[in-house]
Symmetry: C2
Subunit: 163 residues, 2 copies
Amino acid sequence: MRLTTKGRYAVTAMLDLAFHSRVKPVTLTEIATRQTISLSYLEQLFSRLRRANMVIGVRGPGGGYKLSRGAEEISISDIILAVDEQVDLTNCEQKSNCQNGQPCLTHDLWMGLSDTVRNYLDGITLKQLLDQADVQAVAQRQDSDVQQIMQFRDAETIGMALK
Amino acid sequence: MRLTTKGRYAVTAMLDLAFHSRVKPVTLTEIATRQTISLSYLEQLFSRLRRANMVIGVRGPGGGYKLSRGAEEISISDIILAVDEQVDLTNCEQKSNCQNGQPCLTHDLWMGLSDTVRNYLDGITLKQLLDQADVQAVAQRQDSDVQQIMQFRDAETIGMALK
DNA sequence: TAATAGTTGACTATTTTACTAGGTTATGTG
DNA sequence: CACATAACCTAGTAAAATAGTCAACTATTA
């Protein structure tokens, strides 16, 4: 289990997706601008996420991405494991028969540590993070949130008007 | 908080150190051979660990490294944070005033997630891992361990004889 | 059929990782 | 004191991971 910026990008993007895709699919362009992540990098990440059955891509106009299942059924570890391809963190691969026993000692320890972190992140779902987000948003940035909502509504109205 | 192979190397080395430095300091050469980590890489890691006051270097013959405090007072997160220099995992550095609120939302969430992982690893000490190690070692590889000790003694005897 | 948006692959720059080579300094022992 | 030892330091380097670009292609909907 690795924990790097790559994983953070993926979690952030999935969180954005979960937050905005309730009504209709969300385009990567939207996520890219909102989260200031390069579009092409997002494409790479979502290519993996799609192959891991985390998201569903909808082509054509009005298309985009949506979650393949409920936000309460997607764990953070799912996301990280999907994008952070499983390189072997240990030198002695899979098996526990290293040269002289001693390396295996720490091997096992690290595997246990890694497992525990994964299990922990397994227990946190996108839904939980979303709820946390709601609380924090309401508590800390009510003002700016309202402004944002207004802006969002304006944007939608403008969108409707243009049609 | 990042979780990469670099951190694993450091934890492994510290674990080896804690395990062997009860009597006298342990040389990096010993750790390098036991854990099959390059000596110079270990030097780099221990340079950081020393500056972070995790270990004490003893120069000259019979020298080596020893823990600066008890194994029960060194947490895994201490070790990882010491070697994995603190690059900003978030785009919006330190402050929470990003362009449009929305990024900050996920920013906070990630910070929280990262914090929780750190807190978790904060709760695991070298001592705890050692105890785990004892159990596993005793249970699984008593034979090979004895053989190793014998080999180690042989090597020392040969060394003495050559002098 | 034209615009949209996903999908794919190849390619590039930067950073981090892991390691090498070569020194210098401090220190205990013969 | 000389010498071996081992920390300590500096610079460089190859490989990998990260982050991103570019361009072509395909499915879909209006």
